[in-house]
């Protein structure tokens, strides 16, 4: 019970009233900054890191954990209410969450996100405390070929999960993959498709594309339809809180999301967004009412939000045990450790157990604090939607522009935001789903790099892609995900799948 005792000691330390105050400040600051679109947790942590400099290590770490979790959570609020995902991991949340908000169910959407984040954060933080040494061993087994297999699985599940028409979904996905080719090629350092514009050398920023497609495209679409728009934004319908049915539909996705998100977050090259894609696809497959997806299905918010938060805790596994920062946020957290002369890595658990355990305990405290802070705010947040529509969309445009410019001050970035906004409008007009574009931009470079790394290591031998047990297993699952629906369809079973097929143009 060594681990358990250490965790209790950490908790006892973290429950000091002064430290609780720091946690509250951290969570509040993190949520406040995280709510701004275009500013994700990485930037939030980077901006607020200096705030923690003046404190002692324990206070600083606790405030830090609060900022981190607060920033993660704040991003989902804007996704749901304003359709402006602040980071790639909350893109999926916007899909169903914003639909719910526009149907007057913004309250339950925010609540299921908050409670799901709490549940996932709790499970994943406990996983971090008790399983870290084993999880990291599993994560290190993943080489480039295994990551490539994981990407293939994500592509296949994702491309079948979005929109009604497979053809249109794939078209959108390939637009995203084409955009993903822009910029310096990671493996050779050569620039591609940059047309002499230096700002394009680093590729297209995911948040710029996401905010443009979702928020700007949406605003244009609403403006373009004029006044007689059929689906009026309904501020609140029914209760602001989750109903019994909402609970019943949410708890399984929370758990599934946690168990999908945590291991993927722990992979050194995983990334939180992949967990959210897989969770969304899984929920859509397993849902009792799959036809509700795209119209505001609560499962589509509960699962991905849980996966998002679970992978945030999962990210800490390689960070603490190996000193491996696997996301931008983790890299900045590493800087946070280094300000105390601590080097996260294989020796950290042995040399500074108190500090590690107070960090883990403070994550638990921050997690609980976040729930306490945000549940009462749900009622306040949904009032945002009672703002008259022209004002609301003008405000969204303002925030989208400010957020983009703030994150990357350059006129080129602004021009991209507007151009992609117009593209998003056009796609909406002609019924193409927009999420696969963003998914393609996120997954494309990862898949390409891992494939090329794998082939480079094997000196061009293609069989390497199936010769590790992990990659062979993942590819087999991907093949099943592709083939089984086809068989079901040809046998005339599975009405939903048939419906998907019949909608194909």
């Amino acid at each position: 019970m060594g681990t358990f005792d250490l965790l209790l000691q950490g908790l006892a330390a973290a429950l000091d009233p002064m430290l609780l105050l720091y946690a509250l400040i951290g969570v509040t600051l993190g949520t406040a900054v995280g709510v701004l679109p275009g500013i994700g947790p990485a930037l939030t942590v980077a901006l607020l890191l200096p705030v923690t400099y003046g404190l002692d290590p324990a206070g600083s770490l606790i405030m830090f954990a609060g900022i981190y979790y607060g920033g993660m959570y704040g991003g989902s609020t804007t996704s749901i209410l304003l359709n402006t995902p602040g980071e790639s991991a909350s893109v999926i949340t916007a899909l169903e969450g914003n639909r719910m908000a526009r149907a007057g169910r913004g309250g339950p959407a925010l609540a299921t996100a908050a409670i799901g984040s709490f549940v996932a954060g709790l499970i994943a933080t406990l996983g971090l405390a008790f399983l870290a040494p084993w999880v990291v061993k599993f994560a290190l087994v993943f080489g480039p070929r295994d990551y490539f297999a994981l990407m293939v699985l994500a592509f296949i599940t994702v491309s079948s999960a979005f929109g009604d028409s497979t053809l249109r979904g794939l078209t959108s996905l390939f637009v995203g993959l084409a955009l993903a080719c822009v910029g310096i090629d990671q493996l050779t350092g050569q620039a591609r498709l940059h047309f002499g514009v230096p700002q394009l050398l680093d590729g297209i920023e995911v948040t710029t594309l996401a905010v443009a497609m979702f928020a700007v495209g949406e605003a244009l679409f609403v403006a373009g339809r004029g006044n007689g728009a059929p689906d009026e934004v309904i501020a609140v319908r029914g209760s602001v809180w989750m109903t019994r049915a909402d609970w019943a539909r949410s708890w399984r996705p929370w758990l599934r999301g946690s168990f999908i998100g945590f291991p993927i977050g722990a992979l050194p090259a995983g990334g939180a967004e992949i967990g959210t894609f897989l969770s969304y696809a899984a929920e859509k497959r397993l849902a009792r009412h799959p036809e509700e997806f795209g119209q505001g299905a609560i499962e589509g918010v509960a699962g991905p939000e849980a996966a998002n938060n679970a992978s945030a805790a999962g990210t800490l596994v390689p960070l603490l045990t190996l000193g491996l920062p696997s996301t931008a946020t983790a890299a900045i957290m590493l800087a946070g450790f280094q300000q105390f002369g601590l080097q996260p890595g294989p020796l950290l658990f042995a040399t500074n157990p108190q500090l590690v355990w107070s960090l883990i305990a403070s994550l638990l405290v921050a997690n609980a604090m976040l729930l306490v802070l945000n549940l009462p705010l749900v009622g306040l947040w949904v009032r945002l939607l009672t703002i008259p529509r022209p004002w609301l969309y003008a405000g969204i445009l303002l925030f989208a522009t400010l957020g983009t410019i703030g994150a990357n001050p350059s006129p080129v970035e602004l021009a991209m935001l507007l151009a992609f906004g117009v593209m998003g409008y056009g796609m909406r007009l002609y019924g193409y789903p927009i999420a696969p574009v963003v998914v393609g931009l996120i997954l494309g470079p990862m898949a390409e790099q891992q494939l090329r790394r794998a082939l480079s290591i094997a000196q061009g031998d293609v069989t390497t892609l199936v010769s590790s047990p992990v990659s062979a297993g993942l590819l087999a699952v991907a093949a099943l995900a592709l083939v089984v629906p086809m068989i079901l369809r040809s046998r005339g079973r599975g009405r939903v799948l048939a419906q998907v097929a019949s909608d194909a143009d």
Partner: protein, 314 residues
């Protein structure tokens, strides 16, 4: 955005009692990275030591620093209060990106810090010494996969130089670029590649924990507290340092340049700066003025030659 508002508010407040020695330091990278940390450490030292009343840091990320460099060179000519942080990575990035703006378009002031590169193998690897690794490289260059940072960066260049020094064709090295030391670390620990190459600080905790074996470092002398030979003493004439520098605006008058040099000199000798270097584990490689400019020219020429050899620059 918050940064903007804060920055704007600060600027408005600080503009009232305008001080002569106010500096704006551009970090041509996102917040949190090495250049950003260098800029912010300078900001702290310059203010605490009273060398400058107010110092602002501006982040302009992108393309190995060349986006920030282009913006800096275009907008600051003759302004003595503008500084930019950069480093060896920028030298390679300018060449591989074919950047129209180069380090010739700004005024180099001083090299501040530096870190040697380390070559490691997984603990389970049969290779015991740098000699073993080079033998394997000579036998079949393609069969030795190297995991390191971005293509054309300091890690890649070091592998190219080592191959050249060992008489192996540098175009045949099998360098697998990862987006950062962290991702490369996972591939090395997971036994996915033959060898790994990255900053010494990145690998040291793993070496101490016994999960990887340090074969050699690229410094000119053995590093204190690091039990590994240099490449030079192992018989390969390769000395590489991933240095960071500060530069000033183009077209400065002689008097302005001297004033900036004096301020940076004062900062580099200050207790605040030395203390910060010690906590961050950065080596003090201070070299200023004409001596640095000459050294920089030499390094640019050598880097261009090796990037041509590897085939990254045509």
């Amino acid at each position: 955005m918050k940064r903007f508002i804060l920055g704007g508010a600060l600027a408005a407040v600080l503009a009232l009692p305008a001080l002569a020695a106010d500096y704006t330091i551009m970090a041509p990278a996102g917040p949190g990275g090495g250049w950003d940390q260098t800029a912010r450490t300078m900001q702290d030292a310059l203010q605490k030591e009273g060398i400058s009343g107010s110092v602002q840091v501006q982040n302009v990320p992108g393309a190995g620093g060349t986006v920030g460099l282009a913006q800096f060179a275009a907008s600051t000519a003759g302004k003595a209060d503008q500084l930019i942080v950069g480093g060896y990575v920028m030298v390679g990035a300018i060449l591989t990106n074919n950047s129209p703006v180069t380090l010739k378009d700004i005024t180099p002031v001083a090299r501040l810090t530096g870190e040697a590169v380390a070559i490691v193998v997984p603990a389970a690897s049969p290779l015991q010494t740098i000699g073993d690794l080079v033998e394997a490289l000579k036998a079949d260059p393609g069969a030795v996969s190297w995991a390191g940072g971005s293509a054309g960066g300091v890690d890649h260049i070091t592998v190219g130089l080592l191959a050249k020094a060992a008489g192996v064709d540098p175009t045949r090295i099998n360098y697998v670029a990862f987006s950062g030391g962290g991702e490369a670390l996972a591939a090395i620990l997971g036994n996915q590649v033959t060898a790994g190459i990255s900053g010494v600080g990145e690998f040291l905790p793993q070496v101490q924990a016994g999960t990887m074996r340090l074969l050699a470092v690229s410094s000119d002398a053995r590093l204190p507290g690091v039990d590994a030979p240099t490449l030079a003493e192992s018989g390969y004439d390769v000395v590489v340092q991933n240095w960071r520098m500060v530069a000033a605006a183009p077209g400065l008058s002689e008097a302005d340049r001297a004033a900036v040099l004096a301020d940076i000199e004062k900062m580099a000798q200050s207790a605040t700066w030395k203390e910060a270097l010690a906590t961050k584990g950065w080596a003090d490689t201070y070299l200023a003025g004409d001596a640095f400019a000459a050294q920089l020219d030499k390094e640019i020429a050598a880097t261009e030659a090796v990037l041509r050899d590897i085939g990254l620059v045509k």
